[in-house]
């Protein structure tokens, strides 16, 4: 593979790869760009994702979106219709199954057949590649709201081709955020390049007047990710996407649970993404934000799960994110029923609407914003430095060396040297910084926060503390206190 650089692909480069991509599975042959553009151009404006988001941002309201995916087409239509009508969802998803995410289309085919045979859902999502362009359009045409593909696919080129041609107007993922938390053995060179493909494809649609929204996956592993890590990844992926011609980006963040830290993070996410895009010449990109309700382990009790959902909704409302991705009371068990999914939506909607007029203006919010922004700049500027000005190159080197380090990631390309833990108030701090290049003052800040907690809990900061934090919310707390407490 050529060395990966953050440079817009030529049409030739793109076409050369494209021939390969479209033959990965038989349904690829049904993709026709001209026909696709026409389909998009004929779409009702209210069904175009970017329109809904830009509109919400202007009105300062927060849209509500579930996750949902089942193996069969008609079931999928029924499910989404239900979430739209009964769940009052503003935006609709199509969550892709895990075989498709690994490009294992043969196994996905088995899953479809088994699901038909057993009348049970044997796949954890919708295998869009196997179903192909026509089935996607059937989905789009059956529903009133904009639809997005949500997945976790390191190589999503064929998936993007098929679902874009199928009429989807938003696509989640990115070269880092859909690799490190979602793969074990795939190199960053590979995924960044494959996502440049997706972004270039998105650019082609934009150039044809068909806006397609792109959404880097903010929460990463969903497990004690310090805000600046997620924000750094979001900004890098925004820069990479913008270079390929993407014009509509939604940057995301997974709720940490600490009100002030979360609101600060959402604000920094928006402002620093805007700033870096402007600085590097992509000032014309529309940036919106998404908050993911708590992405770590959930409590099993449904009433307790509602509390976690409610708290995520409150944070989304108070930080005025453009949209919020919703969990369900079944989270700890498995893919939710449509009723459970709608319940999560309705709980969220009520909270969002109740709190939409309110804002936070705490003293500590200012401090926290300064801290998160400083941390992000430390890492991001170091990435540029490592890449000698090229952020694609820089990101690869940063992750390799642990400058950019994602906790609890399955990928062997991730250093995994940094260890996060909560401070005594519940904010996520660094228990061990690994190679993350923070300033001495910031490192001291984290250290003091951890010491304060250790002192309060009368124990040394240790990996046990991290484990306690991983379990905490599922056991009814935010901070994982010692068991004997």
């Amino acid at each position: 593979m050529d060395e990966v650089r953050n440079v817009k692909w030529t049409r030739d480069d793109f076409e050369r790869r494209r021939r390969e991509v479209l033959t990965q599975w038989p349904t690829g042959k049904d993709v026709n760009l001209e026909d696709a553009f026409e389909y998009h151009q004929g779409q009702k404006p209210s069904k175009v994702f970017s329109n809904a988001l830009n509109d919400a941002k202007r009105k300062q309201i927060t849209l509500v979106q579930p996750r949902a995916g089942v193996p069969l087409v008609q079931d999928m239509i029924d499910l989404l219709t239900y979430l739209q009508n009964e769940g009052e969802a503003d935006l609709l998803p199509t969550t892709i199954d895990s075989y498709t995410r690994q490009n294992r289309y043969h196994e996905a085919e088995v899953g479809i057949e088994e699901s038909v045979r057993t009348q049970k859902n044997m796949l954890n999502g919708f295998p869009a590649v196997n179903h192909g362009v026509r089935s996607c359009r059937l989905l789009i045409d059956s529903l009133e709201r904009p639809l997005q593909i949500r997945h976790g696919t390191p190589d999503a080129r064929l998936l993007a081709e098929i679902t874009y041609a199928g009429g989807f107007t938003s696509f989640e993922g990115g070269g880092i955020s859909y690799n490190i938390p979602y793969a074990k053995n795939v190199s960053l060179e590979r995924t960044i390049s494959d996502w440049q493909y997706v972004d270039r494809l998105t650019g082609l649609y934009e150039e044809a007047g068909c806006p397609i929204n792109r959404e880097p996956f903010g929460p990463l592993t969903g497990t004690l990710v310090p805000p600046f890590i997620g924000i750094t990844v979001a900004i890098i992926e925004s820069l990479l996407a913008a270079e390929q011609g993407v014009k509509n980006i939604t940057v995301g963040y997974g709720q940490c649970g600490h009100l002030v830290q979360d609101v600060a993070a959402m604000q920094v996410l928006q402002s620093l993404t805007d700033e870096y895009l402007r600085k590097y010449g992509y000032g014309d990109v529309n940036v919106t934000t998404v908050l993911h309700q708590w992405m770590g382990g959930f409590p099993q009790d449904e009433a307790k799960a509602y509390a976690v959902i409610g708290w995520g909704s409150a944070v989304a409302a108070l930080s005025h994110t453009t949209k919020v991705i919703v969990k369900t009371p079944h989270e700890a068990f498995g893919v939710p029923t449509k009723e459970a999914n709608a319940s999560g939506l309705l709980c969220t909607k009520q909270m969002i609407n109740m709190l939409g007029e309110q804002s936070l203006d705490t003293y500590s919010l200012q401090d926290e914003k300064v801290i998160i922004a400083s941390e992000t700049r430390c890492v991001l500027d170091k990435c540029f430095e490592l890449g000698k000005g090229d952020i694609a190159r820089g990101a690869i080197l940063a992750i390799r060396s642990g400058v950019l380090d994602i906790p609890f990631a399955p990928s062997r390309y991730n250093a995994g040297k940094m260890l996060p833990a909560r401070d005594n108030d519940g904010a996520i701090r660094l228990f061990h910084p690994g190679n993350v290049p923070l300033t001495t003052e910031l490192l001291e800040f984290h250290q003091q926060k951890m010491e304060a907690r250790a002192k309060y809990e009368k124990r040394e900061a240790s990996f046990q503390m991290v484990i306690d934090d991983v379990y905490a919310i599922s056991k009814g707390r935010l901070v994982g206190r010692p068991r004997n407490e």
Binding site: S98, E107, F463
Partner: protein, 148 residues
């Protein structure tokens, strides 16, 4: 417990599943409880479990599956173990092993039929698994290192 007496476990997350948090904690907890743990991490194929079990002369294979495809991924594991000469090796499975919130007794039945010795519902704490491992592998409670 003497080094040589330690029971040996092969653990990992099966199939295309990348949920990395639980297995890391199980590794930590099993080791702390006195087992010899070979952790294959995530996205482990049936062949990899078997290879590692033969190589380490393991007493049990602990299969974790979170993402819902457990039922498809686990099929035939017992037969392959038998073929590879691992007759009677203890097979555990746990996590969120099917798609959706299903009646657990049904799920358990299906996985028992597939040859698993024990099947655990979502959110089973490490202590429970350790309790059964010790029981099934004949580890005396007093002899093992306790978690504090």
């Amino acid at each position: 417990m003497q080094e040589s007496n330690r029971k040996k476990l092969v653990i990992g997350v099966i199939g295309a599943d990348v949920h990395a948090v639980g297995i890391r904690i199980l590794d930590y907890a099993f080791t702390d409880a006195g087992f010899d743990v070979t952790n294959l991490g995530v996205m482990v194929s049936q062949e990899e479990y078997i290879g590692a079990a033969i190589e380490t002369n393991a007493d049990a294979i602990v299969v974790s599956s979170l993402y819902g495809h457990g039922e498809l991924d686990c099929r035939g594991l017992r037969d392959k173990c038998d073929e590879a000469g691992l007759e009677g090796i203890l097979l555990y499975v746990g996590g969120n092993i099917v798609v959706g919130k299903q009646e657990f007794s049904d799920v358990e039945k299906r996985f028992h039929a597939m040859g698993f010795n024990r099947v655990f519902p979502p959110g089973t704490p490490p202590e429970t698994t350790i309790y059964w491992l010790k029981k099934d592998l004949g580890v005396e409670e007093g002899a093992s290192r306790t978690t504090d």
